[in-house]
Amino acid sequence: MRIVVTGMGIVSPIGSSVDEFWNAAINGINGIGPIKSFDASNNRSRIAGEVKDFDPKSLLSNKQIEQTDRFTQLAVYAANQAIIDAGGLDHYEPRRRAVSLGSGMGGFATFESSAERRLKNRSIPPFTVPRTMANSAAAWIATIHELKGANLTCSTACSSGGNAIGMGLDMLRAGKADAVVTGGAEACVLPLTISGFEALYALSTGFNDNAQHASRPFAKGRDGFVMGEGAAILVLEKEDTAIRRGASIYAQLAGYGCACDAAHLVAPDIDGQVAAMTAAIQDAGITPDSIDYINAHATSTPLGDVIETKAIRQLFGKHAENIIISATKSMIGHTIGASAAIGSIAAIQSLRTGMVHPTINLEEADPECDLNYAPNTAFAKTLNTALCNAFGFGGNNVSLVFSKPNV
């Protein structure tokens, strides 16, 4: 059974539609800047990839805005686009329309603001819990679009969106749904969250006055990731019914693999990454030498980018040098639970257009990062099959394989 992508939607620091995002990505537009959403002067990392000019009033009533966290608002915005792009889902019975969404932190903006109020003995918004819960975004998407089948949320930190898309694939293959709205959403450019990642020494702190150069996957001098926010949603359905209802098919979601390091909560592990990529490739029924492009996890941490490079080398051997790799995070920062969904849209757009977006800020690569990362300018190449990686705290490793519809 072939599962295909028939709708896409996105809101990101470099664009709030697929076309806007993709045009910006191809041109290497940088979405990183000083944090605007709160006073970050007491933080060591004072930069982020924020979504600009997002007005929830464009899609939600005042009452709905009061009842939703920003991560839900971003998710709904991207889901609306994706469902419209798919031509609507009325072809399917409401109970056969499912949601599978990923978020690492859920409604943490609400959590942080309500916690601050409570600690000052002030009353807290009555919707604190339903806004904060990680499945809030999935529930709102279902409510707005009458998606009455399974409604799942996956929280595996930075790989949440990847796992969610994989769970959507599994649901369709198992016959438990006819259409799945899937992806990831995150909005945690927040004082406590930034401080938490700072405490782990995971964030870039050396580029506060030079924000545009801070997110620099695979480059010399990188010093950690830059927080980002956004959401990306795909509509998945079975190829035969998609054709029958006349849907546009953007790509096939051919494979999904996941593996846990079961070794360390936050340190990356080559074996786990190789296992996830291998499982996804096997699941797609192809061999490693079929992979033309990898949308890398590549967060710009000193260790992570080297480990991912080594994992790619270990799995693909000599073929690793033929693969074009790029890091979307170089332009938008790390959008945590949304990152794999955004990376999936980049991978699908690469298959559709024959263009790979660049990894920006890659004037000089780390000697240990020695593959072709499409440095600084877009790369044109006919591509048939792409891999999207996502690795998360908890030792989670996820890979997705997308291929052209006719491959």
Partner: protein, 86 residues
Amino acid sequence: MNTENIEAKVIEFIASKVEEVDASTITAESEFEALGLDSMDRVQLLFDAEETFGVTFKDDEVKSFHCVKDIIDYISNHQPVSSAKN
């Protein structure tokens, strides 16, 4: 601020929160149910009223609130409205 001003402010506030109802039809006697406010909506409304008028509603007292006048009376009796935020 006198009671009439408080009433006008509270009705204006309620009108801004109840998008489905014609604002010109809202009076002090309007009941929450008639305004389409379910139990969660009422809790949200009172939370927003606390923020707007600088009062703190006591849980056991708001349980009996059923119309706009209950909010007007509470604010009149409990808080100098000079501290209201709008």
